[in-house]
């Protein structure tokens, strides 16, 4: 499948009928959405609502039962990421896509230095010049507010917040156009969350990234996502502009979710 070059007037990713069944159990059912360049989509719902299943299907770690997910690559071709052959999927995941895991240990290599964690992804897309790789690593560490003198330290010596920022730097170094994030602020202290949110929001705006953020934290999506999908028992029950869904929820389940949040 090929097509014209990617422009702003069409979605970057079009998901249709995405379904995952585990025998009689439903992981997610007939999920569909468009994602535009520069847009952050929040997937919210309680544990077991299917939001992580959607992300896992897109990232290729779970094989969907049905559906399509068409993505315009930066080479200008349209691919169904759910049906990509493994080598092509791996290439996509380490260049045009990024995946930020809730636990930074799942997204980092803990046995190599912070700088190597960032540089490794550049090497994976063919960059060979050592000086350039090191400089890119230093630049990205600065962008995510990690001091340059920590570049040779192992991630295990970092705090949770720093590890999460390192994971983000590792993903962004290849200039992906789509980032998948699973509870990116989940394991962090509240004060560290705010800093990470500010950073993520700035990066998304400045780099024109598209992102899908899975979270159960409605305060996080309010500040980060342009648009929301509310999921329950595998299905999308409500969708729309983030502040509209949160301030004027129409579905009974969304109303329950919103009214259950404690405000300090």
């Amino acid at each position: 499948m090929s097509g014209p070059l990617v422009t702003e007037d069409r979605p970057l990713l079009m998901v249709r009928g995405l379904t995952k069944r585990y025998g009689a159990q439903v992981g997610c059912l007939d999920v569909g959405f468009d994602l535009w360049p520069g847009e952050v989509l929040g997937l919210v719902g309680e544990s077991g609502s299917g939001k992580t299943t959607v992300l896992a299907c897109l990232a290729g770690s779970v094989e969907p039962t049905a559906g399509t997910a068409e993505f315009w690559t930066r080479e200008g071709s349209r691919v169904d990421v759910l049906r990509l052959a493994e080598p092509a999927r791996r290439r996509l995941l380490r260049s045009d896509w990024g995946v930020v895991h809730q636990n930074p240990r799942d997204g980092l290599r803990m046995s190599v230095s912070a700088g190597a964690n960032v540089g490794e992804r550049l090497m994976a897309v063919g960059v060979r010049h050592y000086g350039r790789i090191r400089q890119a690593a230093l630049d990205w560490l600065a962008t995510v507010e990690i001091d340059a003198d920590r570049v040779d330290d192992l991630p295990a010596t970092f705090s949770g917040g720093m590890q999460q920022r390192l994971q983000i730097a590792r993903n962004l170094v290849t200039r992906p156009r789509l980032i998948l994030m699973d509870e990116p602020t989940g394991g962090l202290d509240v004060s560290v969350q705010a800093r990470l949110l500010d950073l993520l929001r700035g990066l998304v705006a400045e780099l024109g990234l598209a992102a899908i953020v899975v979270t159960h934290d409605l305060a996080v999506v309010r500040l980060l996502a342009h648009r929301l999908l509310v999921m329950r028992r595998g299905e999308v029950v409500e969708s729309g502009l983030t502040d509209q869904v949160l301030d004027d929820p129409h579905h009974a389940y969304t109303q329950l979710l919103v009214s259950s949040v404690l405000h300090p």
Binding site: A194, D198, R201, Q244
Partner: protein
């Protein structure tokens, strides 16, 4: 005759509270209202009569059951009730400014960047956006020592000034003001009313709620009541 900057046609909004036994709260009943460029329409109704609901519906924050809300945007017209989230965000970026009674910001972001943000979204570079933000904060007499701090811990009046500053700095052609002076002292109130009056005189269409009768008299070119507007 040119189309009004904002045209509200038969807007009806009822809240259905599923969590509370399906209670129905009818708030707006077929509201009709036009606001033209250079006009400041003030809604004069008691609390709880739906003024904020109407402003939020225009901003796309609440979704009415029926009716149309037409906003002149980028040489065309966008109907906000049926508009896609992307279209609403675009109208908010360029056309609609909304001063609410609450300021919601990411903790840790300093005031100057909170105020500069709408300009950045409109494509200004960081320094120019900050310069204009500082000028607006200065005009609202926000003490300079606060500009580098996050407004999260500010008093109600200080937060309201930040909220006003970030909307007026962006020079939107249509402004929605929900009690923009409610938490302010007399001096600050005058500064904000001056801004409203100046924007209106330059052709901005303003739809506002202002509790204070002096402030209302100062900015309103027309006062209307939701009760009288119902179809």
């Amino acid at each position: 005759m040119t189309a009004p900057a904002l045209s509200i046609r038969g807007v009806t909004k009822t809240f259905v509270l599923h969590v509370q036994g399906g209670a129905r709260l009818p708030v707006l009943h077929g509201v009709n209202l036009d606001v033209g460029a250079g006009e400041c329409v003030v809604l004069a109704d008691p609390s709880g009569s739906g003024k904020s609901t109407l402003l939020r519906s225009v901003y796309g924050n609440y979704k009415p059951q029926s009716g149309e809300i037409l906003v002149g945007h980028a040489g065309g017209v966008v109907e906000m009730v049926s508009a896609s989230p992307r279209a609403i965000l675009e109208v908010r970026r360029r056309t609609l400014g909304y001063v609410s009674q609450f300021l919601r910001v990411i903790p840790r972001v300093p005031v100057v960047d909170v105020v500069a943000e709408p300009l950045r979204a409109q494509g200004l570079d960081r320094e120019e956006a900050r310069d204009r933000a500082r000028a607006m904060l200065g005009r609202l007499r926000m003490p300079e020592r606060l500009w580098g701090l996050s407004p999260v811990t500010f008093s109600g009046g200080e937060q309201q000034r930040v909220s006003v500053a970030r909307v007026f700095v962006a020079r939107y052609p249509v402004l929605l003001l929900d009690e923009p002076t409610a938490s302010l002292d007399a001096d600050a109130r005058t500064l904000v009313l001056d801004l409203v009056e100046e924007a209106r005189a330059q052709g901005t269409a303003v739809l506002a709620t202002v509790h204070d009768p002096v402030g209302r008299a100062r900015i309103a070119t027309r006062t209307v009541s939701l009760e009288d507007m119902a179809a």
